[in-house]
């Protein structure tokens, strides 16, 4: 089991992405890196910033970023851990989450909406990572 949003979890997520045929096919034209940010609150004392560089169906790089200023990704999505957990448990569609602002997106929404299959495959990859959520 990997603790959600730990360095180990991010690396396991990267491995699942790179092993996924579904993601490779769905995201074959995708170019764009992300910050996935877990907002502080509840068991999260301070924000956790996960960086993923997604490029043509593969994850080129992924790590926990100590400083938001380290990168200037094309997309930033932040949400409390409760919302991230709903996404990973497939109880919240990520696009629906963004439309209701449960997941707050900075970046080109139109580009995201054109890559819905890739987004769904990305969520599938998270479900294959044995995940332990902090209580």
């Amino acid at each position: 089991m990997f603790k959600f949003a730990s360095e180990e979890w991010v690396q396991a997520f990267k491995e699942e992405i790179n092993a996924s045929q579904g993601y490779a096919e769905a995201a074959k034209t995708w170019e764009g890196d992300f910050y996935f940010i877990v907002d502080p609150g509840g068991p999260i004392a301070q924000e956790i910033v996960m960086y993923l560089d997604l490029w043509h169906g593969k994850c080129r790089d992924a790590f926990i970023c100590a400083d938001r200023a380290a990168k200037t990704p094309a997309f930033v999505i932040n949400a409390p851990i409760t919302a991230w957990r709903k996404v990973i448990d497939k109880k919240l569609d990520p696009v629906q989450g963004m439309m209701t602002r449960q997941l707050k997106l900075q970046g080109d929404m139109i580009k995201i909406m054109k890559a819905v299959k890739a987004a769904k495959e990305l969520v599938e990859c998270t479900t294959r990572v044995p995940t332990e959520f902090p209580e």
């Binding site: 579904g22 096919e25 769905a26 569609d93 696009v95 629906q96 963004m98 439309m99 209701t100 602002r101 449960q102 997106l105 929404m109 139109i110 909406m113 054109k114 819905v116 299959k117 987004a119 769904k120």
Partner: protein
């Protein structure tokens, strides 16, 4: 968490007289040349005059309105400074009015920036009234906007929840003279909205009943409205059905039949309702397993015996094809007059468009590229989906 958006809906005979009660100074009517020619603009203008409003008419909206048309209309709005905008016509005019409204309120924006995430703060300058003159689009009750990027031969599904009209006037007077072909095309559009609103991945309790009622109304009254345009009851109930379906799918979203139908419309210039209605049985078959129970429920609702939910998708697809056939609609791209050469040449673009259509996100089963291509081949040939 989700939302349910609706305009104030004024419906039934004499609904248009509600216009005499609005307060304001200037109205800007967005419509097309045909609607103006039919005298409908004059009917609306008379009511506005009674309310003490001046008005200006933009009657240049084309089928599948382009970004250029929207920009041109918005510029005229900025010159006229209306406090009411009226979208009068089919989906094209109403969608164009919604987009022009955004650009009128926010001249710094471009149409592609209209999205459901970023708040736009509309209604600082004007409010919107929608008046449908066909029974199908549902655009009078939805916040979605479909525009066409003519340079890229692609339809753009845009919109923000703020785009929803303040008032929708659903008066059957405007559909009394609709020709049978347009009645059939638009009726299939309403049916597609209702089925997808009930069976897409974002279906919800608030929309389910609306969609089912609309489906029932379409099956009961569309054949009558096509067969006899003077059947006033059929006309009025179909007009209501389209708006009810609009409310239903507008709050649960359209899905794959729209993604693939938009693409057909953009490439072959097929009327929207005919395109999505053609695709609908195929997407029902493709997504069948994921929504089998719901498809079976719909089949039963419209009188098709369906012993098990497993049979639901196949039987509903058959039932919809039978309805389409009964009102003279094509069941394949071939029947629509598309040749094999035209189809093969267009196939890459058809697939590319469908895959980048925002409505695809709501499909209960999302196809990959190869599956989209295969689906189009089945739609071309008129072959039931078996994968």
């Amino acid at each position: 968490m989700w939302y349910f958006n609706s305009p104030l809906i004024v419906f039934g005979e004499e609904a248009l007289s509600e216009l005499t009660s609005i307060e304001g100074h200037r109205a800007f009517i967005v419509t097309d040349a045909h609607i103006a020619h039919l005298g409908y603009v004059d009917i609306v203008g008379e009511k506005l005059a009674t309310a003490g409003l001046q008005y200006q008419v933009f009657a240049e909206v084309e089928p599948d309105p382009s970004l250029e048309t929207v920009r041109r209309g918005a510029e005229l709005m900025r010159q006229y400074q209306p406090d009411w905008i009226i979208g009068l016509g089919g989906g094209s005019s109403m969608d164009a009015a919604k987009a022009m409204w955004v650009l009128y309120e926010h001249p710094e924006m471009v149409p592609n920036e209209i999205n459901p995430i970023v708040p736009m703060k509309l209604r600082q300058k004007a409010r919107l009234i929608t008046i449908p003159t066909t029974s199908g689009t549902g655009a009078e009750a939805t916040w979605g906007i479909v525009l066409t990027d003519t340079a890229e031969q692609r339809k753009l599904a845009l919109g923000s929840r703020e785009n929803i009209a303040d008032m929708a006037i659903v008066d059957p007077v405007f559909v009394a003279g609709l020709p049978p072909q347009i009645t059939a095309d638009t009726g299939m559009d309403a049916l597609t909205h209702a089925v997808e609103g009930n069976t897409g991945a974002w279906h919800n309790d608030f929309c389910d009943g609306l969609c089912l009622k609309a489906i029932q109304l379409v099956f009961d009254y569309l054949p009558r409205a096509v067969a006899d345009g003077k059947d006033k009851e059929a006309r009025e109930r179909m007009h209501n059905a389209a708006t009810i379906a609009g409310l239903g799918f507008g709050n649960s979203m359209a899905a794959m039949a729209h993604a693939m139908g938009h693409s057909i419309g953009a490439v072959f210039h097929t009327p929207h309702g005919r395109a999505v209605g053609l695709v609908l049985p195929y997407t029902i078959e493709f997504t069948g397993e994921a929504m089998a129970e719901r498809y079976a429920d719909i089949a039963r609702l419209v009188g098709t015996a369906c012993a098990s939910s497993q049979d639901g998708p196949r039987l509903l697809a058959q039932t919809i094809r039978a309805l389409a056939r009964s009102i003279g609609q094509p069941l394949s791209l071939q029947e629509m007059g598309i040749s094999a050469e035209q189809f093969e040449a267009a196939l890459p673009k058809l697939v590319e468009n469908a895959e980048s259509d925002a409505t695809l996100v709501v499909s209960a089963r999302i196809p990959d590229s190869a599956e989209v291509q295969r689906l189009y081949r089945y739609i071309f040939a008129g072959k039931s989906v078996d994968f």
